[in-house]
Symmetry: C2
Subunit: 333 residues, 2 copies
């Protein structure tokens, strides 16, 4: 952590400012995660709720609506919708990645089985669609259903692209927009739409979420290779061991000598990894300035997020959103 622990983080400040509304979102989530008939559903969802999580995405919806003076009540439904989509995606991701841990706890696919994770994930998707219908607003329905399709498309694209050295930065961006940024940008955009904001402000909210989501994912990629400074919470090299082509590697592959290319092909494409390979990968990333170049991209996207806020009304929430963009990249600043 490069920020000092005695400085309050932007997400905590947002949580304080939006506390009552976030409580309403949490109550709605608890209510709709229940099931009258299938006991396995509350078992799995209780596990997910207890695991906590930052509730970053629903907070973005609440923040956008508040900044634009929306009096409610439907930002609560939209924020809960966004969290349901996110949670359903996590359940299915853990099946696809065969993950055993999430947020320091065993995953649902480990505690129960893949079947339960697939079907309870489907249930949460369906619940998210019920929730997004309730505000009766067709434009927010379009935005959220489009985001769901973009997310799923990005996840499928990642299946084939992640282990293919032909994957370039434009394909990477496509995947990241799908798996991460689409839900961030939908979260902020629907907050503006439900508040009746003019088109330029809605567009700015989309751009903020899109840029924030992309910088968030690039930072995640960087931390997986140790980041720029000391790191927390992530094991260095997980992406390498899982043979995922992330931005630093894509940049190093683009500059690779034939020998280096053979190394990446063996370790990522063929999955033949040996003692010392991770260390060699880190050497190659350093040799080509790949970490530094990815870090600059993350900072550029964070700057783009902050710039997008300019057309939005001056508001304490707007300042917190600007700080949030800085905070996301502070982990690699």
């Amino acid at each position: 952590m490069t920020v000092q622990e005695n400085v309050r983080k932007p997400l905590d400040l947002l949580s304080d400012a939006l506390g009552a509304e976030m409580e309403a979102v949490n109550a709605l989530i608890r209510d709709r995660m229940a099931s009258q008939h299938a006991p396995r559903i509350p078992e799995v969802t209780a596990h997910l709720i207890e695991a906590g999580g930052k509730r970053l995405r629903p907070m973005l919806t609440l923040a956008a609506a508040r900044m634009l003076d929306y009096a409610g009540p439907y930002h609560i439904h939209l924020a809960a919708t966004v969290e349901f989509i996110h949670t359903a995606t996590l359940l299915h991701d853990d099946v696809v990645d065969e993950s055993r841990q999430r947020r320091g706890r065993p995953t649902a696919n480990l505690l129960w089985d893949n079947k339960s994770s697939v079907l309870v994930g489907d249930y949460l998707f369906a619940r998210s669609f019920q929730l997004m219908v309730e505000p009766g607003n067709l434009r927010t329905l379009e935005i959220l259903s489009n985001a769901s399709a973009t997310i799923a498309e990005g996840e499928v694209l990642q299946l084939t692209a992640a282990q293919d050295l032909a994957t370039d930065e434009s394909v990477y961006l496509q995947v990241v927009r799908g798996k991460t940024a689409a839900l961030f940008s939908a979260a902020t955009e629907v907050g503006g739409v439900i508040a009746g904001a003019p088109d330029d402000q809605v567009r700015a909210l989309f751009d903020y979420g899109d840029a924030l989501g992309i910088s968030f994912q690039i930072v995640d990629d960087l931390l997986d290779y140790g980041g720029a400074t000391e790191t927390i919470g992530k094991n260095v090299g997980d992406d390498f061991r899982e043979r995922k082509l992330t931005l630093p590697v894509i940049k190093a592959v683009a500059k690779a000598s034939p020998d280096e290319r053979a190394f990446w092909s063996r370790t990522i494409e063929a999955g033949d990894q040996r003692e010392g390979d991770l260390e060699h990968a880190l050497t190659l990333l350093a040799r080509h300035g790949a970490m530094e170049a990815a870090r600059r991209d993350a900072l550029d996207h964070a700057a783009r997020a902050k710039a997008a806020l300019a057309v939005l009304p001056a508001h304490s929430i707007r300042d917190m959103l600007a700080d949030l963009a800085d905070f996301v990249v502070s982990r690699v600043a």
Copy 2:
């Protein structure tokens, strides 16, 4: 088959009557199953489209809309939505059941992998939600999003109930309403709603789809144990080998002696199956009249489906729907 081959089947007659509209549905399905970015998606969806299928569910939507003189165009979107939900469910079902064949062809989870089936299924779910938003009709959105939640809930309930001898007929009905009847009843109901039908007719369409779906599933259960007469297309005993408590078994368990109960507990609950067990199961089903009782239930639901049609306007399509209810149970009549 108990119907004669030279008599045209109700589904063929419906196909003829609704041919142009079904072509429009098929074109919309092909269009929306594509993906601009992820090549794995058209690979998997082309496999599904080639496998064909009866398109029974979208036909129900078209039939309801036509019978109530709807001039279009949104019954096409709703019918395609219903088929997308069905197809997404099949992809996930085959992962959950570890199926290797569907409609006589290898399943997607076998040809590609479980990951692709989970994520392409999610993509089709998301596409279904995009499609259902397009008509801009909030009531059809409620019906279809509620049906999606009921389907997922039924699937999860089946996970725990299917191998539990405590599962009684009311739990069975809950599962069947989820996994089969909810989409039938939503398909017919939205056809009526988009046509602007009065409440009593919409209710009748729901009841028809609900009853048709339940009789359809009970017949499926019966055929799995050989049906009442000769059968086609299904291997006798698949449900038994997969340890699924279906209606005939639930009825036999309810009347079981302690010894018989121990047999069901060993074979279904514990999954310890030996040579001759399927034959003994068939003997127990016969001893307690379980097949005959389940057959009567199927006929009762088919009769309920036909009775529901009474409040709908006289129409050649209405007659075909009545014949369809008879046809469904003709396989065990």
